[in-house]
Structure formats: structure tokens, C-alpha cells
């Protein structure tokens, strides 16, 4: 029975313990649905707390077992090489878990303003997070695609979650069409690579070309294959959709505006980070023999992305569109890091630091947005922020710190992220990209500062006429959980800007 032996051998590499965080998240998602059936309707308010506390539990578990996964070298690859566990993968797990917890916190606030089913939201967020965690550790195109589709399908639902709002539906439709297109491109690229690398007449061909290691060996042996080049460009295009890089950024403003604010945050931070961890895996591990092709493509993309994002954000009045387009420019800065990572390993740590700083700052800003937003989630105007610092000093301070960090102002974490990327770019000799980045940073000051200006300097003086109502929506009072989360985000942003300590040393030493 040779087949049974093969299966046994394969099964022996199935170390389920290696993916316990993903398994726990998936189970937690099911528990939430079960609770909804079991608990009487009055007690449904408990369920989001269960989701958040459960995830914090997983996070603590993960933190205590951060190094166990790759203590033994034979544990680095599990499930017949489908997954590759590394320090980077562990870091991204923590990252996605943090993002997921914060999305749930924001979700409880945003959902309270709508008449919508609650529990499914948390369920989907958990499933999507688990898929992202797998994505960041994938070592095989099949797993990559399955995980990516899980993420994308989850987002189709989440984006149009506020289904009574036409803008949310429109956003969902746009995301569906664009997402399908990007999946198509990605799949087409994968198929081309599979076909070429599986061709027995070529040197280095493999029986299992979906595997990253095998594909890498093949690409090394065929450094100038035309079909492989097209495949690589198509795969990169598919990933570029996820990170919102030019010319695949076109869906961003509408989708970000229409999606519920917590989902926008999820898209802006976690989905983008997933795209970048994928991009790093591909460019650092798999496509290295084709650096001559990928580097210029990514470099041009980076420059165009920075300029487009910043210029387009300049004229926005809707804060969700503004932060979406500013997020495009952040993707551009990160792409500079990806380009630099080819020759400077320092850039890898820089990218992860940047992503982490971006997570802290973005969720601080989105947290404030969720509080300020009114019943119509898509309508969040800069004017709604006037006088915020006076009426809600706490929200004002958190907003200022978050926006300052996004703008890259010292002593906040976002500045250190930009600095590390710039140093890496300098060392890699990317002078033109640096100039573009500087121009971008100076432009970005205008709109970030404009937002701060709206919240701090402009006072709501227009005396209300009789019968006229204040245009600004009522600001939700800050609850304990959200307050603690926002305060911690702001504090972490400040501390990480001044003192990186062991975290900085560890990050800068990260390698693939």
C-alpha cells in the first residue's frame, strides 16, 4: 500500500500545534455564532466582549510562545511545505491579531449606531484575520490563493455590511468587481508560473511547481524565461491591488468611503499589511533571480503611488476618502522599502517597523473617526471635526497624535518608520525615489495638518438660526474599552517614537 505510506508521511508533517492561533480564532468565530443561538436576545451584548477577550487570550498565548515555533529547524516547514514559519511570520500573526482586536473594538461602537445584525460582523472579522495569518506564512501558491480568497470574500461581505446605506452597497459592488479582477490576474500569473516551472524540458523543472522553494530553484536555473517574467508581473499586479499601489489604486476612495469605518480601518491596515508581507515573501524568497525585472517595476510603482496618493488626498473633504488616499501614499513609502530590501536587509526591519507604526497611528485616527461619525457612516466631513479639541479634548489629543504619526513628525513612531525607510533607501542608492518621497511628505503635511486645523483651530462660531440644527453629528461618548484602546495606541505611538529598545534591535536584525 504505497499510497497509504505517502499519506502517512504527509500527515506526519501536519503539526496542528503549529497553527493553533489560526485554529483558535476559527473556533472562536464558531463559538460566537453558537452563542448567538444559545443566549437570549437581551444578552447578545456580551458576544462582542467574548470575541475581544478571546482574542486577547490568543494574543497573550502567542506572546508567551513567540519563539517556540521555530526553535527546532524541522519545524520551520509544516504541512508538507505549505507553511513556512519564521520570526517574520510570528510578527505578522501578532500584527493581524492586534488589528483584529482593534477592529472588533471599533465595530462595537460603529454597529451601535446602526440597526444591523451584530454577531456576524465579528465572526467574519475573526475568519478573515485567521486567513491573513496563514497568508503571511504561506509557502505555496495554492495555500496563498486559498487564504487570499478567504480574506477577499470576507471583505466583500464586510464592505457592504451597512446594507441600508447605498454607498456601502456601491462600495461592496466595486470591491467585488475589482477584487475579482485582481484575483483573476493573480491566478493567471500563478498558472503561467506553474506551467513553465512544470515543463520537464526546462532545467530545474519541478513536479511541484506551486511550492515556493521549488519555483525559486526553477527561476534560478532559468533567469530569462519570457513566460515566467509575464507570470511574475501578473502575480505582482494581483498583490498591488491589495496594497493599493498605482495603477491598481482606483478602487480605494469609493470603497474606503462606503465601507463601515471599522472595515475601512481593517482594509487600510490589515489588508495592506497582508499585501506587503506577501510582496516581501515573493520578492525576497521566490522572485530573487528576476530582480532585474521586479526592481524597476516596483520602483516606478512606488514613485507613482506616492505622488498620486498625496496629490489626490490634497483636495478631499471627506475624511474617509482622505485617509484612504493618504494610505495609498503610505503604500508608496513602503514600496520604497521593498525596492531597497533587494540590496539592504535593513529595509525589511524598516518595513515592519513602518507597518507597526502605521497600525498604531491608523487605528488611533479611525478610532476617533468612529466616535465622531454620525448615523450616515459614509458622510464624514472635515467640517464635522470643528471644535473637537475643545468639546472632546481626549479625542482631539488622540487624533493629533495619530495624524502626526501618519505625517511622520517626530517624536512619534511614524517618523521613525519613515526615517528607517529613508536610511535604507539612501544605502541602496535610490536617490530619485528619496526626492519623490520628500516631496510627498511635504505635500502630506498640508492635508494632515488641515485635519488637525479643523479639529483644533477652527471654532464652531456660526450662531444657529432658529430652526437650524448643528450639522455636526453627535459624538459618541468614549467608553472604557475604547478609551483604554485609544490611550494605549497614542501612548505606544509616542513611546515607540522616542525609545525602541529591544524591539528596535530585534526588528532591525530581521531577515528572510
Amino acid at each position: 500500500m504505497p499510497h497509504l505510506d505517502i499519506l502517512k508521511a504527509a500527515a506526519s508533517s501536519n503539526q496542528w500545534m503549529a497553527i493553533y492561533p489560526e485554529l483558535l480564532l476559527g473556533s472562536l468565530a464558531l463559538v460566537l455564532l453558537a452563542l448567538e443561538i444559545i443566549l437570549p436576545k437581551k444578552q447578545h451584548a456580551v458576544i462582542p466582549s467574548v470575541a475581544i477577550i478571546g482574542q486577547i487570550g490568543v494574543l497573550i498565548w502567542l506572546a508567551f510562545n513567540f519563539h517556540t515555533v521555530f526553535l527546532k529547524p524541522e519545524h520551520a516547514y509544516t504541512f508538507s511545505g505549505l507553511l513556512h514559519h519564521s520570526e517574520v511570520g510570528q510578527f505578522m500573526r501578532v500584527f493581524f491579531l492586534l488589528a483584529s482586536i482593534l477592529v472588533c473594538v471599533l465595530g462595537t461602537i460603529a454597529l451601535a449606531k446602526q440597526k444591523m445584525p451584530r454577531i456576524e460582523f465579528f465572526h467574519i472579522v475573526l475568519v478573515v484575520s485567521a486567513a491573513m495569518m496563514l497568508l503571511a506564512q504561506s509557502n505555496n501558491f495554492i495555500l496563498l490563493f486559498v487564504a487570499l480568497e478567504t480574506v477577499t470574500v470576507g471583505f466583500y461581505i464586510l464592505v457592504s455590511y451597512f446594507r441600508t446605506n447605498p454607498l456601502s452597497l456601491e462600495a461592496g459592488l466595486k470591491y467585488l468587481i475589482m477584487g475579482a479582477l485582481s484575483s483573476g490576474l493573480l491566478l493567471f500569473g500563478i498558472v503561467l508560473l506553474y506551467g513553465v516551472a512544470g515543463n520537464p524540458t526546462l532545467p530545474g523543472s519541478s513536479a511541484n511547481p506551486m511550492d515556493f522553494t521549488a519555483l525559486h530553484t526553477f527561476l534560478l536555473a532559468n533567469p530569462n524565461n519570457f513566460l515566467a517574467s509575464i507570470g511574475i508581473v501578473l502575480v505582482l499586479s494581483g498583490v498591488a491591488f491589495k496594497i493599493g499601489a498605482v495603477p491598481f489604486q482606483i478602487w480605494i476612495p469609493d470603497v474606503y468611503q462606503g465601507a463601515p469605518t471599522p472595515v475601512t480601518a481593517f482594509l487600510a491596515v490589515a489588508s495592506k499589511a497582508a499585501g506587503f508581507s506577501l510582496l516581501l515573501i515573493l520578492t525576497q524568497n521566490v522572485f530573487t533571480p528576476y530582480e532585474k525585472l521586479t526592481t524597476p517595476v516596483l520602483a516606478i510603482m512606488a514613485a507613482a503611488t506616492i505622488l498620486f496618493g498625496n496629490l489626490a488626498a490634497l483636495t478631499q473633504h471627506n475624511v474617509k476618502r482622505l485617509i484612504g488616499l493618504s494610505g495609498v501614499s503610505h503604500a508608496g513609502y513602503l514600496l520604497i522599502g521593498v525596492v531597497a530590501a533587494g540590496s539592504q536587509p535593513l529595509a525589511i526591519g524598516a518595513i515592519y517597523f513602518y507597518l507597526f507604526a502605521y497600525l498604531l497611528a491608523s487605528f488611533a485616527v479611525f478610532g476617533v473617526m468612529t466616535h465622531v461619525a454620525g448615523g450616515d457612516d459614509a458622510d464624514q466631513d472635515l467640517a464635522h471635526y470643528s471644535d473637537l479639541a475643545k468639546t472632546h479634548p481626549f479625542l482631539g489629543a488622540v487624533l493629533a497624535i495619530g495624524l502626526g504619526s501618519l505625517a511622520g513628525i517626530p517624536p512619534l513612531a511614524g517618523f521613525m518608520g519613515k526615517l528607517l525607510i529613508f536610511v535604507a533607501a539612501f544605502k541602496a542608492g535610490l536617490h530619485v525615489l528619496l526626492v519623490v518621497a520628500i516631496v510627498g511628505v511635504v505635500i502630506s503635511i498640508y492635508y494632515y495638518f488641515g485635519w488637525i486645523k479643523a479639529a483644533f483651530f477652527e471654532t464652531w462660531r456660526a450662531p444657529l438660526l432658529e430652526g437650524e440644527t448643528d450639522l455636526r453629528p453627535m459624538c459618541t461618548p468614549v467608553g472604557i474599552m475604547a478609551g483604554v484602546a485609544l490611550a494605549m495606541l497614542a501612548l505606544a505611538t509616542v513611546v515607540l517614537g522616542c525609545y525602541q529598545g529591544a524591539f528596535g534591535d530585534w526588528l532591525l536584525a530581521l531577515k528572510f
Binding site: 517624536p411 528607517l420 511628505v441 511635504v442 503635511i445 495638518f449 525609545y499 534591535d505
Partner: protein
């Protein structure tokens, strides 16, 4: 305790800011703020007094290093004072104290937030001049800069929103250019360190290629130049200072603006001598023709008292740039003395302008007149400040300008003559403004205001901060040796006797 002296001077105001923002009642918050401003000033005076006798390493006293987690990049919080940094550190401490005390006594709206921002700024200022690591040098500058924008935006006067935005964009551009310049020095030197001492030793031994030096110096010159309001990138300054609340204007014009000059003197010139020589003429011409002549005449035409002070500070920066362009130990030494003197005198002028505003309810000088009859002490103080600003012997400014002119004569007699004629320009606008505000007959508008609310003379909450500044000006004016001795020793270390062109094969 004394090994962490400099760190303490940075942390004290920041800690006071943190304590106040935790929600103290206003009365206690004022005490905390006073402590937060007084401690750095005391530490600065202590450092000044004990500088000569303390142990020095490469000319730096009170050296201390702290690892913040980016050591693998060569970034380390290194604090220390050399003879160039010391006078500016003292300036930061004293002007901070004066501005802080003035703010504590002011009736600003949302006083606690105002004090928190000022304290953060003070922490940054102390850090700028105490940093030996050029990364943290930049870092602390930004830390001090950001509160300025917010203060202008919230507590500013006319056009505050526009002024805050303009300042932010200009100064961010300047800061970004200088950051890139600093990273370029770090990278091109290949020592993997942002430590100024290491960089200096390496670049003295193996200088960079002339082309590289020219590019980097250009970046730094314009980057720092924007921050110091080098003509024609000065337009943010009068507008910003005109709108800024007085304490913020005192700290920014008095101390923070010196960051750019300090960066040129401490970093750019010694590390990039060939670049400095390449750009010297451009800098000197922009400084003399632009800052001194053009801005000088614009200053004469001002009607708004605060704008006038703002423009005059832009103009005085021209002397500093001229001194830097001479690239001699004497010229640089003159610039340092002038920076300190100008810091005290411009802060004093901003303080007194606000005091005048409180009595006349306007900054427009055509609506004032005859104030001296009602407020003789204020008039005496203002005339003193004007004299100092013009550069009368007996005030610190005199020594700075004199040394710069002496050094500049060798560089270019023509430019020196033009620069000296600038002194006449500043005498014209200085004396005219004093005459318009304090002497002659009161105008109708002012007579009306003073009839409604008779102006009182300078009160102690204004007098005390002003006295700190005046005493400092006179002390250095009569005893310049107190800062020139450490300065000389530092300049001797950093600017060794002029070296010949580096041989090409030795250059990187």
C-alpha cells in the same frame, strides 16, 4: 546625579508637561510649569559656571550616552556640551525661563494646554543644543517645532490659521531637506554612526569628494537656511511671528531659529569644508543683499510693531549668514555670540511688544504715541531692547556684529560695507518705532483707548522675565569673555588651522 545633568534638563520640562496634562488644577499646574522652566535654566547656569573645570572628551563636557534601541543604525542618545553648544544651551535655558514665567502669568485661554505645549518646546530646545548625536539633534528640533505650529494656530492673532499653515509647510520642507543632508553625511562617511565626534574624526582624516560635499552642503544650506529664514525663503517668519502668541514667538525667534545656524556651524562647516567654500559666495550675497538690504528696507516700512520685530529678526540673520560664509574662526565665533545676543534681544522685544499691545490694544504703530508719559519703565525697557538690537556697545550684540564685520572684511570689503550700512537701517527702524510708540503726542485712537482704560506701567510679572533677558544681555556685553573663552577652545578643536586642498586619492 551630575552625570545625567543634561538628560535631566530635557526630561524636567517634559515631565512637568506630562504631569500637567494628567489633569492638575490650574494653581498647582502653574507651580509645576514654573519648576519645569526653572530647572533647565538652573542646570544651564550650573553647566556654564562649571564648564571650564569639568572633564572634557574631544572638547565635550558632561558627556553621557544612552541606548534607545537603534544602535545597529548608529543612533544613540549622546548628550554633551562643547564651547559652541554651551552659550546656546544657556540661551535656551534663560529665554525658556523668561518665556515660561511670562506665559504662566498671562491670562491665556486654555492656559494648561498652552503651558504643556511650551514645556514640550522647552524640552526640545534643551535637547537640540545638548545633543552630540546628529540624529537626536534633528529629533529634538522637531519636538520643539511642532508645538509652535499648534500654538500659533490656537492662540495666534490675526491670520493665525494661514500663518500656522504656511509656517508648517515651509519649516517641514526645510527640516526635510536638512534631514536628508544629515542622512547623506551619515551614509557617505561610512562610519555607521550619527555621533558627531566619530563623524568629525573620520571626515577630518578622510574627507568626502568635493562634488559630494558640494551637494550635501547645498542641501544643508538651503534646508537650514529655510529654518533660519534665509532670503528669499523668509516669508513664513514675519507672518508667523506676527501671529504667534508672545511666549511662543520668544522661544521660536529667540532660540529655536538658531538651530539652523548652529547646525551649519557645528555640523556642516567642519564636516564639509570644501562644500562650504563652494557655496560661500552664494550664501554671503543672499545674506547681505537679501536679508540685510532688502529685508532691512522692508522693515523700515512696517506699521505693525510685531511684524517689525519679526522682519528685524529676519534681517539680523543676514549678519549670521555672512559670518558663516567667511569660514574663519573669528567669523564663526562672532556668529555664536551674535546668536546668543540676538536670542535675548529679540525675545525681549517680543515680550515688550505684547506688553505694549496690552496697553494700547493695537500693534499698529500709527495708532500709538506718547505712551512714555504713562509708562516710563516700559519705555525705558523698550529703548534698552532697541539699543541692544541695533548693536550699541555695552550689549552682547555689539561684540557679535563687530567680530563678524572684522572677519568679513577679509572675505569681501564690498559686502562688509553693505552689511555695516545695515546697522544704520536697523537704527532707523529701531529708533523710529521707539519714537512712534512712546514719544510725541498721543494719537486720537490711542487717546480714546487710554481714556477708557488708563495704561498701567510694567507690572512685576512682565518686569521679571524682561529683567532676566536684559541682565543677560548686559552681562555678556560687559564681560564677553564669559562665553568667548569656552568658544575659543571649541573653535580651536573644530576649526583647525586652514588645511590645504585634500589630495584627490585621499578623498572618498
Amino acid at each position: 546625579m551630575f552625570t545625567h545633568l543634561l538628560l535631566f534638563s530635557i526630561v524636567a520640562p517634559l515631565a512637568a508637561a506630562a504631569v500637567i496634562s494628567a489633569g492638575l488644577p490650574v494653581r498647582i499646574a502653574k507651580v509645576a510649569a514654573a519648576l519645569g522652566f526653572a530647572l533647565p535654566a538652573l542646570i544651564a547656569l550650573h553647566a556654564w559656571y562649571h564648564f571650564a573645570e569639568s572633564a572634557q572628551d574631544h572638547g565635550y563636557a558632561f558627556l553621557a550616552k544612552y541606548d534607545t534601541g537603534l544602535q545597529s543604525l548608529g543612533i544613540k542618545l549622546t548628550l554633551g556640551l562643547n564651547g559652541i553648544a554651551l552659550p546656546l544651551f544657556v540661551l535656551a535655558g534663560l529665554v525658556g525661563l523668561a518665556a515660561g514665567l511670562y506665559a504662566i502669568q498671562s491670562n491665556a485661554e486654555r492656559l494648561k494646554t498652552y503651558l504643556v505645549l511650551l514645556l514640550v518646546m522647552q524640552g526640545g530646545l534643551m535637547g537640540v543644543f545638548a545633543s552630540v548625536d546628529i540624529f537626536f539633534f534633528y529629533f529634538f528640533h522637531e519636538l520643539a517645532l511642532i508645538p509652535t505650529f499648534i500654538m500659533v494656530g490656537i492662540w495666534g492673532g490675526r491670520d493665525r490659521s494661514y500663518a500656522a499653515m504656511k509656517m508648517t509647510i515651509y519649516l517641514t520642507l526645510g527640516a526635510m531637506l536638512s534631514l536628508i543632508g544629515l542622512i547623506a553625511i551619515y551614509y557617505k562617511s561610512h562610519v555607521d554612526s550619527f555621533d558627531l565626534i566619530t563623524l568629525r574624526e573620520e571626515l577630518l582624516a578622510n574627507g568626502l569628494k568635493a562634488g559630494v560635499q558640494n551637494n550635501i552642503f547645498g542641501l544643508l544650506m538651503f534646508g537650514f537656511g529655510i529654518l533660519v529664514s534665509l532670503w528669499p525663503f523668509h516669508t513664513w517668519a514675519p507672518l508667523g511671528y506676527g501671529a504667534a502668541p508672545s511666549s511662543a514667538a520668544m522661544l521660536h525667534a529667540g532660540v529655536l531659529k538658531k538651530f539652523g545656524l548652529y547646525g551649519l556651524i557645528q555640523i556642516a562647516l567642519p564636516l564639509l569644508p570644501l562644500g562650504a567654500a563652494h557655496w560661500a559666495w552664494t550664501l554671503a550675497v543672499l545674506a547681505v543683499v537679501g536679508n540685510i538690504m532688502v529685508i532691512g528696507f522692508i522693515t523700515i516700512a512696517q506699521r505693525d510693531l510685531k511684524q517689525l520685530v519679526g522682519y528685524s529678526s529676519v534681517m539680523h540673520m543676514g549678519y549670521a549668514f555672512l559670518g558663516i560664509a567667511t569660514f574663519t574662526a573669528a567669523g564663526i565665533g562672532g556668529v555664536v555670540i551674535m546668536m546668543v545676543a540676538h536670542g535675548f534681544s529679540v525675545a525681549l522685544l517680543f515680550l515688550l511688544s505684547t506688553s505694549i499691545y496690552h496697553r494700547t490694544q493695537t500693534f499698529d504703530m500709527t495708532e500709538m504715541g506718547g505712551l512714555a508719559q504713562k509708562t516710563p519703565v516700559l519705555a525705558a525697557f523698550f529703548v534698552t531692547a532697541t539699543m541692544a538690537s541695533i548693536g550699541l556697545p555695552g550689549f552682547a550684540n555689539f561684540w557679535g556684529e563687530l567680530t563678524i564685520f572684522v572677519a568679513a572684511w577679509k572675505f569681501s570689503p564690498l559686502l562688509t560695507v553693505l552689511a555695516i550700512s545695515g546697522v544704520i537701517i536697523s537704527a532707523v527702524y529701531g529708533l523710529r518705532s521707539a519714537a512712534r510708540v512712546f514719544f510725541g503726542q498721543p494719537t486720537e485712537a490711542f487717546a480714546k483707548v487710554s481714556a477708557e482704560k488708563p495704561p498701567v506701567d510694567l507690572v512685576w510679572s512682565e518686569k521679571f522675565p524682561a529683567l532676566i533677558l536684559i541682565v543677560a544681555l548686559l552681562f555678556i556685553g560687559f564681560w564677553p569673555k564669559s562665553i568667548s573663552t569656552p568658544l575659543n577652545s571649541a573653535l580651536g578643536v573644530i576649526y583647525p588651522a586652514p588645511t590645504a586642498q585634500l589630495p584627490a586619492d585621499n578623498a572618498k
